[in-house]
Symmetry: C2
Amino acid sequence: MEKIKPRTLSGFMELLPAPQIQMERFLQTLRETYSLYGFTPLDTPLIESAEILLAKGGGETEKQIYRFQKGDADLALRFDLTVPLAKYVALHAGELSFPFRRYQIGKVYRGERAQRGRFREFYQADIDIIGDGKLDIANEAEIPSVIYTTFIRLGLDRFQIRVNNRKILSGFYAMLDLSEKAGEIMRTVDKLDKIGPDKVREILIDDVGLSCAQADEILRFIGIQGTNAEVLSALEGYRGQNELFDTGLEELATVTKYLAAFGVPQTHFAVDLTIARGLDYYTGTVYETVMLDHPEIGSICSGGRYDNLAEYYTDRQLPGVGISIGVTRLFYVLQEQKLLSSAMNTAPAEVLILPMTADVTAAAEVATFFRGCGIRAQIYTEQKKFKAKMSYADKLGIPFVAFLGEDEINAHKISLKNMTTGQQELLSGTEAANVILEDLRIRNNAKLIQG
Amino acid sequence: MEKIKPRTLSGFMELLPAPQIQMERFLQTLRETYSLYGFTPLDTPLIESAEILLAKGGGETEKQIYRFQKGDADLALRFDLTVPLAKYVALHAGELSFPFRRYQIGKVYRGERAQRGRFREFYQADIDIIGDGKLDIANEAEIPSVIYTTFIRLGLDRFQIRVNNRKILSGFYAMLDLSEKAGEIMRTVDKLDKIGPDKVREILIDDVGLSCAQADEILRFIGIQGTNAEVLSALEGYRGQNELFDTGLEELATVTKYLAAFGVPQTHFAVDLTIARGLDYYTGTVYETVMLDHPEIGSICSGGRYDNLAEYYTDRQLPGVGISIGVTRLFYVLQEQKLLSSAMNTAPAEVLILPMTADVTAAAEVATFFRGCGIRAQIYTEQKKFKAKMSYADKLGIPFVAFLGEDEINAHKISLKNMTTGQQELLSGTEAANVILEDLRIRNNAKLIQG
C-alpha cells in the first residue's frame, strides 16, 4: 500500500510521553491551585460562530484567526479564552452568581507565522473574577496571591510579580495635559526594558511630539524605584492634582497593603510604574510576572482589571479582573532552558510486574492488589528475553520491577527490585506496596520546575 | 453600541458551573484510573493535515469532517483519537517503548446533523496498548479490568462488560462456507437486540440470500447463552473444524480465565456471541459495555483488538487493543436520566469567608491559612446586605461560611457556620480547618454516578 508520510503540523506542540507527563503535572497544578481560590472550572467550545469571536474585530485577530465554513455556518476557532468567557457570561448571566470566579485551561488557535517557540495551537490558563455592576478592589489584591502560589507550587521561586495601576498612568498623563497622547506614550514607555531610557526619550520627543520638559517629567516618573513603600511614598508627592490618579494610588496602596495577609512575600512583588499592558482593555490594576533569571522571556503571567467584559454582547456592566498564563509557550521555554526538574517522576508506572511463568494469574493478582493501593502497575507479558524486559523498565524509568516466578508464587511473595539502587528483596504484597508507596511519596515531592 | 446576540453553536456542550464540576470529576476519574494501569497520557493537536486524517478516507468520515484551508494548507479537525494515535506512533516509533500504553482524553469533531443528544464536539477517552509486531493475549484479558475499575470508581455498579472474539465469528462463518458474506451477516446479527431473532432470520434469508438451514444454524449459534463457563463449553462443540475458530476460542477462554485475577466479578462480565463491533478493523477480542438498567443507551464503552494500527503511514506492523468512552454523550445521558449523584460536591469552594469589617486583612489571613490546609476558600468582599451574602453561599452550595467581625478578630477566632445544619461555632483557625476537612472527606466519598 502507498504510505502517507506521518507528520505533525508546524507550530503544533506534540510531546513524547515523558515530557507529556510533565505537561500534565503543569496543568494539574494549575487546576488545583486555581481551585483553592474558589475559581470554578469552565469549558467552552473550541469552535464558535465567527460573528461572536470577531465581535470586537480588527487587527491581528482577523488575520490570525482560523475561520471556515461548514454548511452555511461561518465558524472560527477561539483565539483566546476571554472572548468565550464574555459570551458565556453574557449568555448565562441569569444563571450565574456574582462575583463569578472561573478558571479555564484550554487550547486556543492563532495562525501566526511559524517560528521557533511560536505556537499556532497553545494552552492558555486563565482566571477571572467577574462582578455584576461593581467589583471590590480586594479582588485585585488577591490576584498576586494566586500567581505567587501557582508558581511556588510549580517549583519556581526566582520570580517577581510586577504591579501597576492604569488609573495612575492615565491620571499622570492628564496632569501633564497629555491624555490624548497617553496611548502612544504608554506604548513607547513599554519598550523601556528593551531600548533604554535615552531611546524612549528620543521617541517621545521626535515621534510623539512632546517637549523636552514633558519627556523628562515622564522619565522621572517611570524612573521611580525602590521598595513598595518607597514607590508609594514618591507617588504621594503627585496626590491632589488629578482625581483619577488619586483613585489609582488608593487602589495600588490597597493591593500592596493586603499582600502579606494573602501570603505574598515582599521579595516576590514590586510596584513598577513602567508596566502598562494592552491599552484599551485594562482600566485599573495591571500585573506582569517575570522570571528573575530569565528576563528575556518576558512576562509569564499577565493580566489586570477591566471595566466591561462583555460590552459587545450585553448592556449589563460586567467589570472584572483576570490573569492568564501562556502554558505551552512557558513549558517550551522551561524545556529549552533545562528548567524542568529531572527529579520529577515521568514513568508511566511505579512498578513493572514480570511474570516468570506461562500462566499470569499470580501477576494479574499482584497488579490488581497494587492498583487497589493506588500504585500505578503494569504487567509485562510479551515473550521477550529477560534483558529486553529489564531494558523496557529502564527506558521508561519505572522505579520498581516485581518478579513472580514459581518460587515467589509458592511462597506468596514478590521479588521486588529497586531499579535505582539495584537492591532486590523478597517481600509480601503488603510489604512491597509499602516500599513502593514510600518511594513514591518522596518522588512526588519533586516539583515540575527546579529553581 | 449594537450588540451581537450571545449564543453557543448547536451540537456543542457548554455546561453551567455545577455540572461542569461533575464533568471535571468524570475526566479526573478517567485520568486517575487509566494511569493505575500504566497508561501514559498523550495530547495531540486538534488540527492535522487533512491528508493525514483522511488517509483511510471514505464514508461518513469525509462527509462529517471539519475541513478548511489556512494559507495553502489543507487542514481538518480530528474526528477520533485513533487516527492521531496511528500518526503519533508511526511518527515517533523510534522513540517509544513497546508495548506502548497510552490514554488520551480529548475533544473530537464530527459535523453530524444536529439532534438531541448528538454532539458535534465531544470528548472521547481512549486507552490503547500497541505492540511492535506482536502483542500478547494477556493485554486483551486486562482490558475488562480497566473498564470495570473505571465505572466502579465513577459510581456505576449496574453494568456488564460483554465480550466476544472476532476470530470465533469469522471461523464459524468459514465453517458454514459463508466467509464472503460474513460482513453482511454480522451487520444483520448486530441488530438482534433491536429487531429480534425472527426479523434477523428473515433478513438473512431474503436479503443476504442464506438457506433456511444456514440461517437457523447462525441463530442457534448466536443464541448460545448462559454463564461464561456454559457458553465456552457450548463453543467447545464447534472445535476442530476451523483453525481460526479454535484460536479465537483459546483467546476467549484466556480472557475469561484471567477475569478474577484482574478483579472483575463474574456478575459484571458476559461472553456474548452477538457482539461484533465495526467490521473491517477489529480482529480478535471485542468489547461492549451496557448499563443494565438502561440498555436503550447502547454500549457506553467499546473497543477491541486490531492487527494493524498505522498501515496507512508505516510498514511497521503495530497490533493493538483499545477501548473508548464517548464521555460527552455518556455525561449527557447520565444527566438526562438523573443518574448524576446529587451528593457530589459541586460548590466552587468549601468555605466562604465574610469579613464584617472594612479592613479585610484578617479575612485574607484566614483564607491564606485555609488554602494552605488544602481547603478551597473564597472571600466575599462586595458591599452587599448580609442576606445577599448568605444567599450567595447558599446558591453556590458552599458548605461553610466563616464570619470575621471585630469580636472574632480580637479573640483570634472564627465564627464558622455549617450551612447544612445551620449550626454556628466560635473556633480557632485550626479547629475550623479540621471541621471543614472532616466534612470534605465525607463529601468527597460521594461518587459521580449514583447506582
